[in-house]
């Protein structure tokens, strides 16, 4: 633990109260760890995005003219592995969650600061394994590692990649563990469960999934590594092993994992919509409980990834009906967000634009999920571009837009600077348009039957692929802009006030950037969450 030095006179905060690389690499401060995560997660996102660009570039023509088949397979595998395990899963929880949860509940830190730092190092270690795979020749299994391809036939570095993800899993587990203990035991006096911000509820549900699901995928990939390394059979049909068992174990985590990605975004959106409507979220308890319901029911639906895989159709039907039930809490959230804006005082600042974009895209992502949840429909659509479009609508349109919304919302709090309002709105618009252009055509491609993970494809699919690639370049531009204006703002941005958006949560009641211990005195909460009548100290920027 770093013990804070006596406060200096010159507005000390968590960024400047200690200096030097060591003060960052050995920090126990959840805010600094959040920033370490922010940096590393952004690097992996950029890398994953580079692979995405290669994929779209290759698919502009039906023939395989840019990459060899083997290279293409490695490119989409690396795109998936990096984006899923090293960007989407840690993105909001490990950066914004890490930074904000203790502040939102009026605590000085997470319950276990050293474990928090350890989780970042584990993440980096897992990342190093994955980068090693990347540099030494890649891996071509797809991010799903299906056996027996991964164990017996792949010519990629399955063992190193499997270990990388195995290791990375523990980072996720430790983060989740820290969150749950912190939310249970570190809340400020007076902060009851139903006074918690919805962001915290969403992260509580996320953390529960991390703890319950991650170990299963960890042990599964570990078995794959053992099977590949020592040729002993766990899933190998040569010994009577069952590859479908691998898929069960894999999706037991990897389906709930999409809720790890999207629930925190929902938390962000709940905060942002309320703040920029200056209104308590409509149906607070319903939004809160729907997060928990998604986490619980989310564990009962993994089998809809196995409808055509050789699973019993009776199991498939149960998974199908349960998948519809998990859709309801998501619908509840969407309608409650819309209702929150009703008779609100809506300000279309950048975070709000991203959040509104989230609602629109997530709605489409969720609704197309209904197609895939229907067993009969799924038989035609699974393993086609329809699935690719669907999960990008939830993962990019959902998780990524929520992440960007959150970054724009709390940027002034984290760094004490404002960014360009003009450029950020341009970027939000480009991302929204580019995203839809990229992924909407893929729904149509999917219904026409274009299978996913195809390097070359029949010429009748080209029109939509060209549209998609064109959209991807707009999307790429939209995503590059924030990197520029946000970095620029660190030095040249207008100094932000403590509460530039007129938001409620406790995190806005301390200075921007916050002091090392978050609060001068531990706050005592006496009002309900989102009580806009108690707003003081309001400075508008923009």
């Amino acid at each position: 633990m770093i013990t804070a030095p006596p406060p200096e006179k010159t507005t000390p905060n968590y960024l400047n109260h200690q200096h030097g690389l060591k003060s960052w690499l050995l920090t126990g401060d959840h805010k600094r760890i959040g920033i370490l995560y922010l940096i590393s997660v952004t690097m992996f996102f950029a890398l994953g995005g580079l692979f995405a660009a290669l994929i779209r570039l290759e698919l502009t023509t039906p023939a395989g003219d840019l990459l060899e088949s083997n290279q293409y397979n490695k490119v989409f595998t690396m795109h998936g592995v990096l984006m899923v395990f090293f960007f989407l899963i840690p993105s909001i929880p490990a950066t914004l969650g890490n930074f904000l949860i203790p502040m939102m509940i009026g605590a000085k830190d997470l319950a276990f600061p050293k474990i928090n730092l350890l989780s970042w190092y584990i993440y980096v270690l897992g990342g190093i394994f994955t980068l090693y795979v990347l540099l030494t020749g890649g891996i071509d299994t797809g991010w799903t590692f299906y056996t027996p391809f991964s164990t017996s036939y792949s010519n990629g570095y399955v063992i190193a990649a499997g270990l990388g993800i195995f290791i990375n899993g523990f980072s996720s587990i430790l983060t989740g563990l820290n969150f749950i203990v912190t939310i249970h035991r570190m809340r400020a006096p007076g902060l009851t469960w139903f006074r918690l911000p919805l962001f915290v509820w969403a992260h509580y549900a996320t953390a529960a999934i991390m703890i319950l699901g991650t170990p299963v995928v960890a042990v599964t990939l570990f078995l794959v590594v053992l099977e590949r390394g020592f040729h002993i059979g766990f899933f190998d049909p040569a010994y009577g092993g069952d590859p479908v068992l691998f898929q069960h174990l894999f999706w037991f985590y990897s389906h709930p994992a999409v809720y790890i990605m999207v629930l925190p975004s929902m938390g962000v959106v709940s905060e942002v919509i309320s703040t920029f409507s200056s209104k308590k979220p409509f149906g607070y308890t319903f939004i809160a409980f729907s997060s928990v319901a998604i986490a619980v029911f989310g564990f009962l639906v993994w089998g809809h990834h196995l409808f055509v895989a050789g699973q019993s159709i009776y199991a498939g039907l149960v998974f199908s009906v349960l998948s519809y039930i998990v859709a309801i809490p998501s619908a509840v959230k969407v309608f409650n967000w819309a209702a929150t804006m009703y008779k609100g005082q809506v300000r279309l600042e950048t975070p709000m634009l991203y959040s509104l974009g989230f609602i629109g895209l997530f709605t489409i992502g969720g609704l197309t999920g209904l197609f895939l949840a229907s067993f009969g429909m799924n038989v035609h659509l699974t393993d086609t571009y329809f699935v690719v479009a669907h999960f990008h609508y939830t993962m990019v349109g959902g998780a990524l837009l929520g992440y960007l919304s959150g970054i724009h919302f709390w940027w002034p709090k984290i760094f004490g600077r404002m960014y360009s309002q003009v450029w950020s709105k341009v970027s939000a618009a480009l991302v929204f348009v580019g995203f839809n252009l990229t992924f909407f055509p893929q729904f149509l491609l999917g219904y026409m039957g274009m299978p996913r993970r195809y390097h070359v494809y029949p010429p009748e699919f080209q029109v939509f692929n060209v549209l998609s690639s064109a959209g991807a370049s707009v999307l790429a531009l939209g995503l590059l802009l924030p990197a520029i204006y946000l970095t620029w703002s660190l030095k040249y941005g207008e100094v932000a006030s403590a509460n530039p958006w007129g938001a409620t949560g406790l995190e806005w009641q301390t200075s921007s950037p916050p002091i090392a211990e978050n609060f001068e005195v531990t706050p005592v909460v006496t009002t309900e969450a989102y009580d806009y009548s108690t707003q003081q100290e309001v400075v508008h920027v923009g």
Partner: protein
């Protein structure tokens, strides 16, 4: 190939009995989804415009909390979507039950996936690679397996697909309704040339199909080829007609329920046949000894299919509807006290021709 690709289309060809019902469900879902997308989109845009505060006016004054929740609304927007989606579930379930029950009169065709090609065997003996000739208007049943990794036999124009697994059999059936040529895609990622594991279904008129079949392969029907394999392997030394041998009777046995030595029973189907050949000791028929040697690595996946087809052809499987069981005939089964394994000494070369991948073929069939 034979088909002129269309440059622009929104729906794939509709060429099987399943296509209309899947398209119908799809249309229903598109309408429901479009309605809700537009509703949410409209509400958001409408509220954002109507209640918008212009920038520069500062943070608005707090408003009355007159709309912070409504149980009636919450129930409404939970129940209506749930009801609409349960229709999707039920509709989809009815389609999938249809897709899971191949009619008894279906023409059996066998598919073996191998990186990166589809090998297809017709009962009459014709064999083809990456092409499948079928007659229009007849029910077709595919029994599929893989020599290596998981593949998936997908025909978009038929709106159906199923994974093709190593060491197991999966089933897919359809009735082509329109003469023409349609894509076969491998839809489960299977390695380097996954996107090259494609082919064509040629749906022919009945006359054209008969003509095509008549070209034949010159190797006899699958059952005949299976029989010669059966004899080469010496199976008949023990598996004697009428059950006088050291091994269970195979005549008329396919599709029946078999009682096992551990008190359980199993349906004599493709997977059980395969398992019993590769792992003969996994499930012992009640009253017999563990004397059968393994044929693991000696029979290719295609050879296995021929043996299965031969065993199916033994005796009359009439009226054997998958899922129904016939009673086995205990009078046909005799106890055997013999011990030795009368295997012919030379391993048959024909069956042994394949391949390094034979070692990976195994049975993951999981009868109880």
């Amino acid at each position: 190939m034979t088909m002129e690709p269309k440059s622009f289309q929104l729906f794939p060809e509709s060429a099987s009995n399943f296509a209309p019902s899947v398209d119908g469900l799809y249309t229903y879902m598109v309408v429901v989804s479009a309605f809700f997308s537009l509703l949410v989109g409209f509400l958001i845009v409408y509220f954002a415009v109507k209640y918008r505060k212009k920038p520069g006016q500062g943070i608005p004054a707090p408003i009355n909390d007159h709309s912070i929740g409504s149980m009636i609304l919450e129930i409404t927007w939970s129940v209506i979507p749930l009801a609409l989606s349960l229709v999707m579930f039920a509709w989809g379930a009815s389609i999938v039950f249809h897709e899971s029950r191949p009619p008894a009169d279906a023409i059996n065709i066998y598919v073996t996936g191998k990186r990166w090609m589809w090998k297809i065997q017709h009962m009459e003996g014709a064999r083809e690679i990456n092409e499948l000739h079928v007659p229009v208007g007849k029910n077709i049943r595919l029994t599929m397996t893989s020599e290596d990794v998981i593949h998936d036999f997908f025909v978009p124009a038929f709106r159906t697909k199923a994974d093709v697994l190593p060491g197991r059999y999966t089933t897919e059936w359809f009735q082509p309704t329109k003469i023409g040529d349609y894509h076969i895609f491998c839809a489960e990622y299977c390695g380097t040339k996954h996107s090259g594991m494609i082919g064509w279904v040629h749906v022919l008129s009945a006359e054209d199909y008969d003509k095509w079949l008549a070209q034949g392969s010159g190797e006899g029907s699958m059952a005949e080829q299976g029989e010669s394999l059966f004899n080469q392997l010496g199976c008949g030394n023990c598996h004697v007609k009428g059950g006088h041998g050291r091994a269970p009777n195979l005549y008329g046995a396919f599709g029946t329920k078999v009682d096992l030595s551990d008190g359980t029973s199993v349906r004599f189907d493709e997977s059980y046949t395969r398992e019993s050949i590769i792992y003969p000791q996994a499930k012992i028929v009640a009253g017999y000894d563990r004397i059968m040697p393994t044929f693991k690595g000696l029979i290719s996946d295609e050879g296995m299919l021929k043996l299965i087809e031969y065993i199916k052809s033994l005796g009359d499987p009439n009226g054997v509807v998958p899922g129904k069981t016939l009673t086995s005939e205990p009078s046909d089964i005799q106890k055997s006290g013999q011990m030795a394994v009368p295997m012919s000494e030379e391993k048959p070369q024909a069956a042994n021709k394949s391949t390094a991948s034979a070692g990976t073929s195994a049975n993951a069939g999981r009868q109880q």
